[in-house]
Symmetry: C2
Subunit: 123 residues, 2 copies
Amino acid sequence: MDPDALAKAFVEHYYSTFDSNRANLGSLYQEPSMLTFEGLKIQGAQRIVSHLTSLPFQQCQHTFTTVDCQPSGPAGGMLVFVSGSLQLAGEQHALKFSQMFHLMPTPQGSFYVMNDIFRLNYA
Amino acid sequence: MDPDALAKAFVEHYYSTFDSNRANLGSLYQEPSMLTFEGLKIQGAQRIVSHLTSLPFQQCQHTFTTVDCQPSGPAGGMLVFVSGSLQLAGEQHALKFSQMFHLMPTPQGSFYVMNDIFRLNYA
């Protein structure tokens, strides 16, 4: 699978999981994983999922506009950079966001999220 | 120097160099360095600088709003995620952008840009 297709497949999987049941995102992170969410730093799969599930909205819909990817180095990692918009239930306007993921390979041939940085883009 | 201060110092240096003389950015990249600029993939310090210096504007002013950073793994790299705005000479409105850098340590104790992904955030 070519890297661009892999990156897009990951992004589709990530946001469809986020929008249907955020608690299921836990399997994409591991203990060393880091999330910086609007400047707040969180480490570890369980803490990351606790934070994402405690965000003050129930329903949301991510739409991504661009997905860029690059290999991150000899360890086989991949950097994925996303721009898109986030529609919260009951809100009139969608919020623009940018997010980057650093995916690292697992021994099972899959990937986990080593680094995750999320920012809303205020107009 | 703590990582957040280092990331901020890098970002200040990068954009002040970009805005004063883009040709001087070459020393921040190396041969394996990759830039994805609005979806266009470019590899190698010389090609990257050629692209940046050929962008169709002469004067510009970057202002950054947020800088987030995380260590990228055991190799001592650092991920830096920036949001900000870009004012081009003669244009009325600034353009919002997001950019990520993956900095890798050099044997001399400095860093070079291994990965660079830039996107304008259209409203």
